[in-house]
Symmetry: C2
Subunit: 151 residues, 2 copies
């Protein structure tokens, strides 16, 4: 499914899929809402996840925390239906446009993972919440499932 | 300007900026158009670039190719004016909303770096161009400047 990378011209101007996976075998993915274009999350895929996403039209990622394939929504029910997949100039980043069952993409409980704005006030940074309240309670949805976040 | 990371709760639910830079000292950045929300590019910042972006309100990145700070638009003139900066749940990704002089963000010449869609036809992938033509000629704009892309 994936072609080898040969020249800059092939990669940037061509019509063959020649994705670049990093030294960990991963490619970053930007996921946005198909209707609003709002940024929902940023994650990673390995080759298997990218192939599954292309063929199944649902978002699969690679969980760096759990070190395994991750079918988004398999625990929470918030499956991401893939409407369009794009790739960037040097083919080292994927853009997924999705529709989400339940309208939640963030394991903390918000619509988007990007629910805080960085503001600068008197030389100090502060985070301001941009989403007023959570859509769901993570404890209810995930229960004892492993928390996907580590520090 | 940046606080230390202590607990998941501090990072995900708090109002202090505690960004996570990876083993290379970098954090991924998603840059979208402030008006349309369209995804323009995906890049990386080091600590210096993030501090400059927050204080100068123009996009600074770290060029992994040239291994140096990169003030976007310093060669091309396509400076990105930063309207809003957000951070994700585990604070390991930045979202910049920008307005771009000249409306071009891609060194290949397009508005967005994501100018090709991945399509599946009869089990084979193909890239379909979604932007009809380039906004500028890279040879004219960059001349002998080093090409920011490598394979």
């Amino acid at each position: 499914m994936f072609k080898q990378r040969k020249s800059v011209k092939d990669v940037e101007e061509g019509n063959e899929l020649r994705p670049k996976f990093n030294h960990e075998g991963l490619i970053p993915v930007v996921t946005t809402d198909f209707v609003t274009n709002k940024l929902l999350m940023h994650a990673y895929m390995n080759e298997e996840a990218l192939k599954l996403t292309i063929t199944k039209k649902e978002a699969y990622y690679y969980s760096r925390t759990r070190k395994c394939l991750w079918h988004k929504g398999s625990t929470s029910g918030f499956v991401q239906k893939v409407e369009q997949i794009l790739i960037d100039d040097d083919q080292d980043c994927i853009w997924l446009k999705v529709k989400v069952d339940g309208n939640a993409s963030c394991h903390v409980g918000y619509n988007s993972c990007f629910y805080r704005e960085i503001k600068l006030e008197n030389g100090n940074t502060k985070l301001i919440f941009t989403e007023k309240e959570k859509i769901f309670d993570p404890d209810e949805v995930y229960g004892d499932s492993p928390n996907p976040t580590i520090l």
